[in-house]
C-alpha cells in the first residue's frame, strides 16, 4: 500500500529537520570539545599576561637568579624564586624517595604475587586512598606525622619539610602503584612463562624480566607522580610552614611555590599590588615545571614502549 500524500509530506518534513540536526550536532559537540582547549589557552594567557605585568616591576633576571624571597618586606621587597623552587624540590625529593620503592614494590606484588582475592581487596583500597582530599592528608601530616617525627628526632620543628614530604609521598603511592601495575600486567604471558621455563625463580622473573619490560610505563608513572608532588598544595601549606629559605635544611619551616600562592591568596593582598602579580609569576613557573614533567612522561611512555 502506498502512503498518502500527506504522510509523504510529513515524512519529508521530518527528514529535513533530522538532516539539520545531523548537521548541527557535530558542530555543537566540536564547540563543547573545544572548551578544554580554551581552558588551556585561558590558563596560559592569564598566566602570561599577569606575569608580564609582574616583570614590568621586577626584573626577570632577579626573579630567576635571586636567592632571597622577601615579598612582604616593608623596606625593599625581593623576589628571587630560587628559595621557593628549593622548597618544592625538597618536598618532591622526600616524597619520591618514600613513594617509588613502596609504589613499585606494591605494583610487583599485585601483578606477580597477589592472588585474585587479595587484588580484589587491595585495588579498591588504593582507589579510595587516591580519592582522599589533600586537605585531609595535610591534617594528618600536621597532627600525626609531625608529632611522631618530633618524638624520634627532637630537633625537628613543628613546621618542617620532612613530614609533609613523607605524606606527599603517601599521597602519590596509589598513583605509582596502579599505573606501574598496569604496565606490568600488560607484559605478555609468554615472556613470563619463557623465563620460568628457563629455570628462573619467581623473584628473578619479576626483577630481571618484568621490570625491564615494563620500564617505560613505570618511569612514566613516576614522572607523573613527581608532577603531582610538585603541584601539591594543601599538604605543604598546612604542614611545611611559610619560610622561604635557600639552604639544605629539612628540619625547619620552608615554603614551596604552591604554599606561597595560598599564603598570598589567604591574606588580602590588594588587587594590583606587586605581591598580587607575583602569585601569577610563581604560578607560571609552577605550570612550566609540571608541564615539562607531563610532556616528559608522555615522551618516555611513547619512545621507550616495548612492542610485542
Amino acid at each position: 500500500m502506498r502512503p498518502s500524500v500527506q504522510e509523504m509530506i510529513a515524512q519529508s518534513k521530518g527528514k529535513k529537520s533530522k538532516k539539520i540536526i545531523e548537521k548541527i550536532i557535530p558542530i555543537l559537540l566540536f564547540l563543547i570539545a573545544s572548551v578544554s582547549v580554551l581552558t588551556t589557552i585561558g590558563i596560559v594567557l592569564t598566566l602570561i599576561v599577569e606575569t608580564f605585568t609582574f616583570f614590568s616591576r621586577v626584573s626577570f633576571f632577579d626573579f630567576i637568579t635571586g636567592t632571597t624571597w622577601l615579598p612582604f618586606s616593608n623596606k625593599e621587597a625581593q623576589y628571587g624564586i630560587l628559595p621557593l623552587i628549593i622548597g618544592t624540590l625538597k618536598i618532591t625529593a622526600i616524597a619520591v624517595s618514600v613513594a617509588v620503592p613502596i609504589g613499585i614494590g606494591a605494583a610487583i606484588y599485585l601483578s606477580e604475587y597477589a592472588s585474585e582475592t587479595v587484588r580484589r581487596i587491595v585495588k579498591p583500597v588504593l582507589e579510595i586512598l587516591a580519592g582522599v582530599p589533600t586537605i585531609v592528608y595535610g591534617f594528618f601530616a600536621l597532627t600525626f606525622v609531625t608529632p611522631v617525627l618530633q618524638g624520634l628526632f627532637p630537633e625537628i620543628k613543628i613546621f618542617n619539610a620532612i613530614s609533609p614530604g613523607i605524606v606527599v609521598g603517601i599521597m602519590i603511592i596509589p598513583m605509582i602503584a596502579s599505573l606501574s601495575e598496569d604496565a606490568m600486567s600488560s607484559v605478555p604471558r609468554q615472556i613470563r612463562d619463557g623465563a620460568l621455563a628457563m629455570g628462573s625463580t619467581k623473584f628473578e622473573v619479576a626483577i630481571k624480566v618484568i621490570l625491564p619490560a615494563a620500564l617505560s610505563g613505570i618511569v612514566a608513572s613516576v614522572v607523573l607522580a613527581v608532577s603531582r608532588a610538585i603541584g601539591e598544595t594543601m599538604i605543604v601549606s598546612l604542614a611545611a610552614g611559610s619560610t622561604p629559605r635557600f639552604d639544605g635544611d629539612f628540619t625547619g619551616s620552608i615554603q614551596t611555590m604552591t604554599s606561597y600562592i595560598v599564603q598570598v591568596s589567604k591574606g588580602d593582598a590588594g588587587y594590583g599590588t606587586t605581591i598580587y602579580y607575583s602569585i601569577y609569576a610563581v604560578g607560571f613557573t609552577l605550570f612550566i615545571f609540571t608541564m615539562l614533567m607531563n610532556i616528559l612522561a608522555t615522551y618516555v611512555s611513547k619512545r621507550f614502549k616495548e612492542e610485542y
Binding site: 570539545a33 579510595i128 582522599v132 598544595t233 594543601m234 608541564m291
Partner: protein, 211 residues
Amino acid sequence: MAVVAPTSIILGVGSAIYLEEYAKKNRMTSFIRTNISNLAGVPSVVFGLLGLTIFVRALSLGNSVLAAGFTMSLLILPVIIVAAQEAIRAVPNELRDASLGMGATKWQTIVRIILPAAIPGILTGSILALSRAIGETAPLIVIGVPVIIQFLPAGVMDTFTALPMQIYDWSSRPQQEFQAVAAAGIIVLMAVLLTMNSIAALIRNKFQKRY
C-alpha cells in the same frame, strides 16, 4: 555542587561523544586529545589562578558560588571526558552498526543506543570526579572564598564557604580545640566521599559485564 555537576557532565560527555564518534583522525583531534591529558596534569592551584582572573575579575562574578563552581567544573572536566570516552569506547561496534543498519541516523544511534549503554561508566566516572571536586581546597583559597559566613547562601551569586575551607582554617589555628573541630569536619567530609565512592563502585560492579 549544583553548578559543578551539570556544567562539567554536559561539557565532559559532549566532548567525549565528539572525540569518540565524530572526530576525524586529523591533527586537530590529536591536538585536543593531547591537550586534555595535559590539562589533567595541571595543578589545581593553577586552576584557581585561572578562576580568579577569568571568573572572579574579568566576568566580575566575585567570589560567588558560580565563580567557584565554574572553576571546579573546568578542573574535573578532563577526568570526566576520559571516563566518558572509555565508557563510549566500550560499547560494542555491533550495536552501533545494527542501529545504523536499521536506518537510524548517527545522532539517533548516539542518543538512543550508545548513551544508554555507556551510562553506567559515565556515571561512575562523573561521581568519582565530583567527589574529587568536593575535597578540593586550593582553588577555593586562591579564588578568595571567605571562611566565616553566618548565613546560608541565597543564590548562585552569593558568597559562600565550603567544608574543606573550614577544615583548612581550623587546622591552621594553634588552639587545641580547633584541632578537634577540624577532625570532626574531616569525618563528615570523608563520610560524604566514601558514600559517593561506594555508590560509584556499586554502579560499576552492577553493570560491569553486560556485553
